[in-house]
């Protein structure tokens, strides 16, 4: 299992559309993928699971990936956060 903690930088945080993009991306990997936010740990492949975090801008979130493609999964998920889910210019 590998993990990385990053800061949420997009203004709206993990809102519905960002969470949908994130869960869609997570579902494209075989690895188990979890998000840890303020002590809560949810399956990143579940849209509603991600939404329960109510994760907002400026806060740290940890991405955990575990499985065959864990490195690629972690990279791409970190990237989608860093690209602010392509919703800000």
């Amino acid at each position: 299992m590998i993990k990385e903690t990053i800061e949420i930088t997009n203004k709206l945080g993990l809102h519905a559309r960002a969470s949908a993009k994130l869960s869609h991306l997570a579902n494209s990997f075989q690895s188990d993928i979890y998000l840890v936010y303020h002590g809560d740990r949810v399956n990143a492949k579940s849209l509603l699971g991600i939404l329960t975090l109510a994760a907002s801008v400026g806060n740290p979130i940890t991405i955990e990936t575990d499985g065959k493609d864990e490195k690629e999964a972690l990279n791409q998920i970190v990237n989608i956060f860093q690209s602010k889910f392509d919703e800000e210019s």
């Binding site: 519905a16 559309r17 949908a20 869960s23 869609h24 303020h38 579940s46 849209l47 509603l48 939404l51």
Partner: protein, 134 residues
């Protein structure tokens, strides 16, 4: 294949589907049927029957807006082995359905998951924050 319908008062179903489509950024194949409260239900009933006939061999899930409301009441007669009817559909429930429907689970298990998603999506923020603080 699981075919879904939303039967609601007015345009509630259409709006829910439109919002879900915007969130998921994907086309959504759900038939929306509006119950017009100016009629006695015959028109809506005919529409439902006509649509269900097209999908006789499929598993079907019918979402309605409120238990006890006309859109739900006229659906009681359709409850059978390959049809599940879930009342009180909301956005979390609909999103749960749309993100779970392609997983290999049967209709009964799917409708249970959707119901759970819909209920879990209802929160009192003060209680939620209270739990977080304690």
């Amino acid at each position: 294949m699981i075919k879904a319908f939303i039967i609601t008062h007015g345009n509630l179903g259409k709006e829910l589907v439109e919002v879900a489509r915007s969130i998921l950024e994907t086309p959504i194949d759900i038939e929306c049927i509006s119950f017009d409260w100016r009629e006695d239900g015959t028109k809506t009933l005919n529409k439902i029957q006509h649509n269900l006939k097209k999908y006789e061999d499929d598993d079907i899930i019918i979402f309605t807006d409120m238990f006890g409301g006309s859109p739900t009441n006229i659906c009681f007669q359709f409850d059978r082995k390959n049809i599940e009817i879930l009342t009180g559909i909301n956005l979390p429930g609909l999103l749960k359905f749309l993100t779970y429907k392609d997983k290999k689970i049967n209709l009964k298990a799917l409708v249970k998951e959707v119901k759970k998603g819909a209920i879990d999506g209802i929160n009192v923020i003060g209680e939620y924050l209270g739990e977080k603080k304690s």
